[in-house]
Amino acid sequence: MNNKPGSSILQVNGLNVSYGTFHAVRNVSFEVKAGEIFGLLGPNGAGKTSTLSAVEGLLKPQSGTITVAGFDTAKKPLHAKANMGVQLQATSFQPELTLAEIIKLYAGIYCVELTREKLQNILQDIKLEGSSSKKFKELSGGQQQRVSLVIATIHDPVLVLMDEPTTGLDPQARRQLWERIEAMREKGHGILLTTHSMEEAEAVCDRIAIMDHGNVIAIDTPQVLIDTHRNDQNVISVSRKGKITLEDVFIGLTGRTVRT
């Protein structure tokens, strides 16, 4: 079964996630297609990370279904995980292991054969050819993100999940990461990312979903969302530069109140 461009590789239907009495995700539905970058946006506590965690299999949904590459994550969790690569918000690897050992560990987990030459090629590709014996914590933020991404995609998954991948990166590192994400899209990977950066959403996402209080309140391409809400009074009232941006739409829809 090949993932043809446009075919659905992630389907989330009626997802509900609760922590005790707190209903974090409410009846959320969306899909990610092959060759698409899908952004999940929302203020703090909107339910983005909970949604992503449910897809990753890190938490059990209260109800709803999640299908990755045709596999129901509740019924076939390992098959679903074999088809996804995950870059967590705060990635941490065993601090005693070197870069080469970490890459070998994850290649081994996914049964990806890795010779010394191939390992060197991978390190060269992420511009860390001289750092194979370095520990993960010794790398800069941008280098850590490149390592995390290479590990997330070492098995060439159809779906790549990224939780706020550019947080804390300088503009150069952020641009470089965007290029890598776009390159993955061109290869046919489907990418689901969460972000607080409207600039990032506009720059790289093909479609976005805006979440608030656990609900998806808008879902479409960034440009269509801007066009649709261009004349909303809430959106116009928060506009700062005379023209409506995605950030204006976002704040207009989710409100000015700072979330904690």
Binding site: E56, A69, L78, P95, G108, Y110, I122, H155
Partner: protein, 278 residues
């Protein structure tokens, strides 16, 4: 634009079994088969043993405490008996492995998100823990062997082949109790620093109260209590297995108590365990 060199390397060398290479077209293929658990477990074991090797100073300390006690007791061995001395030292080593080594490593990795990273891969969660436990079993083997060697070379305490064999078996049973206790602490306590201080406290109490109480220094009542405590039952089965001919019904009861403690601690530890601290 980004060169795609990594992807090209993967495709050119057919690194991944599911990559389609039909003509010039490169397609990412959906996985219909999950990676073998045995292969994943091998990789996890390699990583966990490497981690343990990098922390070899702590392993040396783990070995030093029982060995120092054994050496310092040389003059008393004739009075207290070789089995008493060796079983006490192995018990102290097992306590250190379960409480100081295992639980602190688990708490630290949980706190840092190491487990979360592994849990998003297609490995069964049990294999993550099994890999960690196998490393601990090797440490148990190492401590027991080390105590036997020092006991034989320095204190001239030797056992029969059956005694050595049985002691290794009971060391694993006793080790399971302390690993279960460590698991229970890391299950009940979320914060890594609190786990660290709790295990140090429990270790200190076990060693001090256990050792001195067992010698009768703290009174007869406490001696009885200690005998049926997790410290006492492990020590009793170790001492009993060193002299198989002296294995009594009391030793069998101690074995049952040890297994019961191990099951109860492990059950609570697994039930209450959370893979992350949030």
């Amino acid at each position: 634009m980004y060169s795609l060199a990594l992807q090209d390397v993967l495709y050119e060398h057919k690194l991944h079994p599911t990559l389609s290479m039909s003509g010039e077209e490169k397609k990412i293929k959906m996985q219909t088969v999950i990676p073998k658990t045995s292969a994943a477990l091998t990789s996890l074991l390699r990583a966990d043993f490497t981690t343990q090797w990098r922390n070899r100073r702590s392993v040396v300390l783990l070995l030093l405490v029982p060995v120092i006690i054994l050496i310092s007791w040389k003059g008393l061995i004739a009075k207290m008996g070789g089995a008493f001395a060796l079983s006490t030292c192995i018990t102290i080593g097992l306590t250190a492995i379960g409480l100081m080594g295992y639980s602190n490593a688990i708490a630290r990795d949980r706190d840092k998100g190491v487990f979360q990273r592994l849990r998003v891969t297609p490995v069964p969660t049990w294999s993550i823990m099994v890999s960690r436990l196998i490393v601990q079993l090797v440490l148990i083997l190492l401590v027991t062997t080390f105590v036997f060697i020092v006991g034989s070379e320095y204190d001239e305490v030797t056992l029969s082949p059956a005694g050595y064999t049985l002691t290794f078996v009971t060391a694993f049973v006793g080790g399971a109790l302390y690993l279960g206790l460590g698991q229970m602490i890391v299950g009940l306590v979320k914060n890594a620093e609190t786990v660290n201080s709790t295990t140090r406290l429990v270790y200190f109490v076990f060693i001090m109260v256990g050792m001195f109480g067992d010698l009768g220094v703290l009174g007869e009542e406490l001696k009885k209590i200690i005998h049926w405590s997790p410290y006492g039952t492990v020590k009793a089965i170790l001492a009993g297995s060193m002299q198989p001919s002296n294995w009594s019904s009391q030793t069998s009861l101690a074995l049952l108590a040890t297994i019961a403690y191990a099951v109860a601690f492990s059950y609570l530890g697994i039930k209450k365990f959370r893979w992350n601290t949030q």
